[in-house]
Symmetry: C2
Subunit: 477 residues, 2 copies
Amino acid sequence: MAKEKGLTPQSQDFNEWYNEVIQRAELVDYGPVRGTMVIRPYGFGLWENIQRALDDMFKATGHTNAYFPLFIPMSFFQKEAEHVEGFAPELAVVTHAGGEELEEPLAVRPTSETIIGHMWAKWVRTYRDLPQLLNQWGNVVRWELRTKPFLRTSEFLWQEGHTAHATQAEAEAEVRQMLGVYAKMSREWAAVPVWEGVKTESEKFAGAVYTTTIEAMMRDGKALQSGTSHYLGTNFAKAFDIQFQDRDQQNKYVHTTSWGLSTRMVGAVIMTHGDDKGLILPPRIAPVQVVIVPIYKSDTREQVMPAVERLAADLKAAGVRVVLDDRDQYSPGFKFNEWELKGVPLRLEIGPRDVEAGTAVLASRLGGKETVQLAEVVGQIPHKLEAFQAALYQRALEFRDSHTWEVDSFEEFKEKVEQGFVKAFHCGDKECEKQIKAETTATTRCIPFDEPEAHGSCVRCGKPSAYGKRILFAKAY
Amino acid sequence: MAKEKGLTPQSQDFNEWYNEVIQRAELVDYGPVRGTMVIRPYGFGLWENIQRALDDMFKATGHTNAYFPLFIPMSFFQKEAEHVEGFAPELAVVTHAGGEELEEPLAVRPTSETIIGHMWAKWVRTYRDLPQLLNQWGNVVRWELRTKPFLRTSEFLWQEGHTAHATQAEAEAEVRQMLGVYAKMSREWAAVPVWEGVKTESEKFAGAVYTTTIEAMMRDGKALQSGTSHYLGTNFAKAFDIQFQDRDQQNKYVHTTSWGLSTRMVGAVIMTHGDDKGLILPPRIAPVQVVIVPIYKSDTREQVMPAVERLAADLKAAGVRVVLDDRDQYSPGFKFNEWELKGVPLRLEIGPRDVEAGTAVLASRLGGKETVQLAEVVGQIPHKLEAFQAALYQRALEFRDSHTWEVDSFEEFKEKVEQGFVKAFHCGDKECEKQIKAETTATTRCIPFDEPEAHGSCVRCGKPSAYGKRILFAKAY
């Protein structure tokens, strides 16, 4: 519910704006256990629409859903050295169940490479059992110290894709294909522009050969890693002994991949599009695309309501997610504020004179009002929603591009990285990367696939650049 | 994969038949942790189709999805006396997280009444905030001693609906409405006939005022409780202090309900329809509705494949879930066995002579073969699938009705309850119910809504009947 008081302006305190808007728009609330969140219907509606878009793309690329247990024997994590180092500190551990102490403690899954690897070792016998193309929708737990709803919580919802292939080439193609699916979902559904690229060694997934990522820019200039796709090589195949007999009769290890996208994407949508009035939601994933606010006094109610009810029914029949806000206890102005806070793309206002004239006022959450003919508006709305979607993406793209700089000196790096993204040369040395983080809190976000070949000196230490192109730095969530 | 050896016949050992069929049909596998299951793609496909049917019905009745945390403070369970008694012995407990011992141990949710009650206490202020109509899809953990995939596992997937209302009448109407949704899903999608009724006091949900249930009969005559809907009264409202200011300015406790249906329903489908050849799946939820098996030798392959590929594409375009089994390494006979094991409703066989004649052989998993015209079959398949669905339900209904008896003596009770369901009078005394269970292992399944009024003497102790009608007894999973 909208409160009397406005939101803290983004320019004053972006963090506070975020904390206020997610609660007031009823996206989320804090759970009773530290670091947990309750996803309320309006926030879950966003996630459901993201899920549907992704699930359709997963299936179109040949994947099927499955479900693996939440509890994983602690010993499984010991089998892959980097994996245990990365995840052991964040595990939640079940030690008692059914009133007794367990013989072996159980980890609550932080990710499922180990348990899926264990099952593949049983299921995969020959090349005919490959590829394995699985996806799982579910919850995972990572005990994080600093939490923030949607961005980093002790428990979160996500999908984790896991695939096993006969060859490295096929596995690597899968890694890129699924990163492409994430980029498409982000751009075309969430209207969030992203860079696609490879993580540096220090930023890769614990247990991966390499990690690819989509990186988005929030309106405070900070980066949000929004989805990752990993090539795991034969690391997990060796740890769990997943071998197959190939066409040439030889026993070989499979090459595996994993890829995940989480409720974080909801955070990306909020922080990419929102303004001082509240959320602005992309129509394709907005739980409510159009709100109708009837405007009447007690003596004109009977005149207005039949017209708006018919309009709501017609829009619904046309496949538009519409709400008719017929609450008597609130004024139109109150309702306008509330639906602006909730980021509904389009609003239709209809009063007694509109009904007489056969018109309505159409207001866009991106600004602007126009008078539309009631007889035509149902046919126009789908196009207007698509135009809104495109404008929102364009606006985000322009914001991102105007907050991205190529820099060649560390002084400029430090200045610009306070405002957005920086493209710079880097020597590839982990220690140098660490030093940059220590001095600026900025990290490498990725080595972008699309960045043209170029060579230069490391922006901090001056040694020759290691990646054959500029790489992306930013402060990150 | 089909093995050389057939399944153990149901009549020989139903339990063993079940254990074999679920694994060979690749519905499920055993997880590494005791009592857990891995739901494989074919099994998960069934569950996804059940989910979609239910989710549509939930939304059509005004409910929205939300997500509440997996971890619940142990202290929450103490707040409702019956609830803690019922669930405490089955809890899995997280005692360590992030490398440290927690101050308060956390229960992994066995069900979410407590944590949702906690949040409602914060969200619900006035009658305008009611009703709360929420549903959650997710996993829960109950540490069971004897487990069986789909029927009873340490972790399972389900949906749990939770609603809060201003009045008892409205809450009770919700309880019946949602039981009706379960019954409709069971009958019309799963083709599983069910009795709807109220549980006796000894069999109700821990914390409920009363529990309503749908009860199905498996092919061994045993009952499977397949979905429950509970009226919780103000029990949880009082435990979590969920009060609202009503229209009359008075503060009142809300009346809550909860209702759940789980992956158990997959078990119901397997055990209601399967036969000695394997599964028989209802078309509306079958992951594969039609399989096409091309029949060729090496010199006729080129003649057959284009025709079956076109047919598969046409069926897919018509919305049919179809698989073209073009695996060269297996014989048609092997494929027939495998798809029969997997319970695919319809099979199309096409050889070179069929292609020439423009025909195919259509075989039904319920028996019978016919020759169909290739030019017409795509248009016919949807009707044939609906007819299959209806026949499957009819077959299950006849089986159930022929295995249900009205009995009036305990001798007859003991005899008949070995073969199916028994309708009998009962005195309503908990001790008498316990005695029946001790002597026969049968329990009361429900007091059926549709059973006509009747009066008689308790089938065991001879005291007057308590329910005004016969009630249902059976051995149960």
